[in-house]
């Protein structure tokens, strides 16, 4: 089932034509209306007419969160304020928040994207959507709310918190779709156990969880505890909010709504675009936004894009779960390494709660990588051969994933230092 089948299943070639046309319009719009972009493009020697193919995208300068802060509050808006019908803002841990604006059309676009996401998950207008994302300046609550209404579903705008009321309404209203952060969903699941609510007796069938990173292990827990299909959603306020990408029930990554956004993966160090399949920083360009078009926005989220066919019939590329932030990146022997890549290998091997540490040192002129892996019961064997074999297989897999070799050192549980419950992932002993 699709919400906008024409776009969601558009052949890739036609989609590329549509993207180019919309990119050209977007560049013209920002060039004409946003001094910040006009200056940046001029500095790069680019005029709107220079955008002749999608390859020209890589010539455009990036936009960063700092750029949004520098132009606080409305400096990057491309329409007069009388056209802006809504503002949202992301929490600024230091200083001013970043502010985003929407025209009436932007709200329609966003609502359609969220309706697509809900339909992709298996939702319809018959569903009762309990929306436990926070309402307010944060985009999560309102974004999903408008999408669910657009779809024609029944929305319960309960917002976050007040767990006992969440559980009461969930039972009394017969909620079928739950939308919230995965950690809150897990908490709801635990509270169900504590209060003796049998999830099998609830009508819940779909969970749309996002706004924070989660894992396959959490998916399994959520599905077992809440008796539903748990799907991932991606979005960020600087781009539009939730509804940039949504996971389909194939559970093989989130389809990026490419008729509205161009996604690129770049090497965060050099800024060079990387091919599909390689991990790097996700960069997004909006194609249809009016109030706040955004050009090559650096999300700082690390992911991988995949363009192989999906069983659901959508032609949009998929992004894997966000596995980390660019801030965590290491460069070892000239290769970008993300601690989360090690985590994914360990998860692949069946380690359910991987604890590991990348120890980087320099021996002579060469970087040396040793990976400590806390040996879990699942991996443990009373046979030396089996453990040596495990080391060998991990080593081979890490070589193929990272592209560099590493020594594996199996260590006892709780050997790797943890601070505030979070494990430290990197020990860089290089003195450069």
């Amino acid at each position: 089932m699709y919400w906008q089948k024409e776009y969601e299943t558009m052949p890739r070639e036609r989609l590329a034509d549509l993207q180019l046309e919309r990119l050209q319009q977007t560049i013209k719009r920002v060039y004409d209306n946003v001094p910040f972009y006009r200056n940046k493009l001029s500095e790069a020697g680019i005029e709107p007419g220079d955008i002749k193919s999608l390859d020209d995208l890589s010539r455009l300068p990036f936009t960063t969160k700092q750029d949004l802060r520098d132009n606080y509050p409305f400096g990057l808006f491309a329409v007069p304020m009388e056209e802006v019908v809504r503002l949202h803002a992301s929490s600024g841990t230091t200083g001013k928040p970043t502010v985003v604006g929407y025209t009436r059309n932007d709200i329609v676009t966003w609502s359609d994207l969220m309706a697509r996401a809900l339909v992709m998950a298996g939702g319809s207008k018959k569903d009762i959507v309990q929306n436990a994302y926070g309402y307010g300046l944060f985009t999560g609550g309102m974004g999903i709310h408008y999408g669910a209404e657009r779809l024609g579903a029944t929305v319960v705008p309960i917002s976050g918190g007040n767990t006992s009321r969440q559980l009461m309404l969930m039972q009394d209203f017969g909620t079928t779709i739950l939308t919230c952060t995965p950690s809150y969903a897990l908490y709801l699941g635990e509270e169900m156990v504590n209060t003796g609510i049998d999830p099998a007796k609830l009508k819940l069938r779909i969970g749309i969880f996002g706004a924070e990173p989660w894992s396959e292990r959490m998916r399994n827990q959520l599905e077992a505890k809440l008796n539903l299909t748990a799907l991932d959603i991606y979005g960020l306020s600087e781009v539009i909010g939730p509804g940039v990408a949504m996971e389909c029930p194939e559970k093989k990554g989130m389809h990026i709504f490419e008729d509205n956004f161009i996604a690129e993966i770049i090497d965060p160090e050099t800024g060079q675009p990387l091919p599909y399949g390689q991990p790097g920083e996700l960069v997004i360009t909006s194609l249809t936004k009016e109030a706040l078009p955004i050009i090559r926005y650096r999300t700082r989220d690390i992911t991988v894009l995949k363009d192989d066919e999906c069983g659901c019939g959508r032609t949009f590329v998929r992004m894997e779960r966000v596995t980390g932030r660019t801030d965590d990146m290491l460069i070892i022997r000239g290769v970008n390494v993300f601690p989360s890549q090690i985590e994914s290998v360990l998860l692949e091997f069946g380690d359910t709660e991987p604890h590991y540490l990348l120890v980087v040192d320099r021996k002579g002129t060469l970087d040396d990588l040793e990976i400590w892996v806390e040996l879990s019961d699942k991996f443990f064997s009373d046979k030396v051969r089996a453990l040596e074999d495990l080391e060998k297989r991990l080593r081979a897999r890490i070589l193929s994933v990272l592209g560099i070799s590493a020594r594996i050192k199996l260590v006892e549980p709780r050997t790797i230092p943890r601070s505030e419950g979070k494990a430290k992932r990197v020990l860089d002993k290089r003195e450069i």
Binding site: L375, F380, D382, L387, L410, V411, E412, T415
Partner: protein, 143 residues
């Protein structure tokens, strides 16, 4: 006929073995036999104790990676070729021995050899058919 063996993962650093014995001591568990297999980086400590289940829990609670494995304890006659005979019997039916280690019984002075094999039931059957004495778990724990 099967004996529960506790295996503990140890990094090769000083004090770890002592820590295991301390944990067991504090929980009033006696070690009947032990063997260590080690590589340059890590070791696997294998233990036969008087009370395997509490030992497993105590070590687990102390944060060790622990597993239990079933092994067999064979009484080997204190005479030349005693062990060779047992090995031959197993070899003849293609039972692969993962590892073995021996310890002495205080009372009889006969050697006890702990065998770790994949085909446990087959091994027990063929050894019994050849009149090799296999000790019950309860007897081994109580040694």
């Amino acid at each position: 006929m099967k004996v529960k063996q506790i295996s503990v993962f140890l990094e090769n650093k000083s004090g770890r073995l002592a820590q295991v014995t301390r944990v067991l001591g504090e929980n009033n568990i006696n070690i009947r036999a032990l063997s260590i297999a080690d590589t340059t980086d890590f070791g696997i400590l294998r233990l036969i104790v008087n009370n395997p289940d509490p030992a497993y829990r105590a070590l687990k609670d102390a944060g060790f990676t622990v597993s239990t494995t079933e092994v067999i304890a064979v009484e080997v006659k204190d005479e030349p070729g005693g062990l060779a005979r047992v090995l031959e019997i197993l070899q003849n039916v293609n039972i692969n021995i993962e590892y073995l280690y021996a310890f002495l019984q205080k009372a009889t002075n006969a050697a006890l050899v702990v065998f770790r094999v994949e085909q446990l039931d087959e091994a027990i059957k063929v050894l019994q058919e050849n009149n090799i004495s296999i000790l019950e778990g309860s007897r081994v724990y109580a040694l």
